[in-house]
């Protein structure tokens, strides 16, 4: 086993284990901390995939932004009584069985198509060496309109969040 395989195995096991813990824990704050671990492990995977810019974005935006928002809302909303209630809903066994069946289906689809994942003759394809530069180039040259639409989406989401969380509109 080479070093990158060991790194990948470490991050993958960390991500999956803390994701499972996140879904099954009773305490929401523990769930949030496990989700942060999953996101950090995913950031490590991004770094291994030579996506340095997304590695930084993942840590700053997900862990530093979204998860802090989640923890704030958990503190505002947290009810001690909900710790002692049933944590799973009534359809849990059917739902879990169906989701696992969906996972198995996708797995078999991947298994059946495992030889067609690569472009023909693609052994020499490489990402550009300067990752952030390449992303900026593509984002501001070919994806200018989607970029602007994304900024409008963020503005609308910001207004929506403020209106929703206001006490009296």
């Amino acid at each position: 086993m080479t070093a990158d395989k060991i790194l990948f195995a470490f991050f993958a096991v960390l991500a999956i284990a803390s994701a499972i813990l996140m879904v099954t824990r009773r305490n929401i704050v523990h769930g949030a901390v496990f989700l942060i671990t999953t996101l950090l492990a995913t950031a490590g995977i991004f770094l291994q995939l030579q996506a340095e810019f997304l590695f930084v974005v993942q840590i700053i935006l997900y862990v530093g932004g979204i998860m802090v928002l989640f923890v704030f809302v958990i503190m505002l909303v947290n009810l001690d009584v909900s710790l002692h209630m049933v944590q799973f809903n009534r359809q849990r066994f059917v739902a879990a069985a169906l989701s696992l069946a969906l996972g198995a289906q996708v797995f078999f689809a991947l298994w059946a198509g495992r030889n067609s994942l690569r472009l023909p003759g693609g052994a020499s394809l490489r990402l550009p060496a300067k990752n952030s530069e390449a992303i900026g180039d593509a984002l501001f040259r070919h994806y200018m309109l989607p970029f602007e639409i994304a900024s409008i989406l963020l503005l609308v989401a910001m207004i929506g969040a403020v209106v929703m969380a206001k006490r009296r509109v």
Binding site: A19, I20, G31, Q91, A95, L127
Partner: protein
């Protein structure tokens, strides 16, 4: 070099765990966190293909998905706060005003 299939399997595992979380938990905040997990699994897929095909476009799509995730988290948590203020609960099966 780690093969592309390993990343796809990791993404599939995270997606399945996320779907189980959305469908089985009662707490709306945990459901929302599971949705973040699903979006993250999608990002792994996009970036793995981006490296495998040597094309930076997959990473651009991942950036847009992260933007969507941020917007969705902000609005979703705002809705949860408003709902909690009205009904004093964050459990999904007690949100049954429209249920016949």
């Amino acid at each position: 070099m780690v093969p592309l299939e390993a990343y796809l399997l990791l993404s599939l595992a995270l997606l399945t765990v996320g779907i189980v979380g959305v469908l089985t938990r009662r707490n709306v905040i945990i459901m929302l966190m599971s949705i973040e997990l699903i979006l993250n699994a999608v990002n792994i897929n996009l970036i793995a293909f981006s490296r495998s095909w040597g094309d930076v476009n997959g990473q651009i799509f991942a950036i847009f998905i992260i933007t969507d995730a941020a917007a969705e988290a902000a609005v979703g948590l705002g809705i949860i706060l408003a709902f909690f203020r009205n009904r004093e609960t964050v459990l999904s099966d007690e949100m049954d005003l429209l249920k016949w």
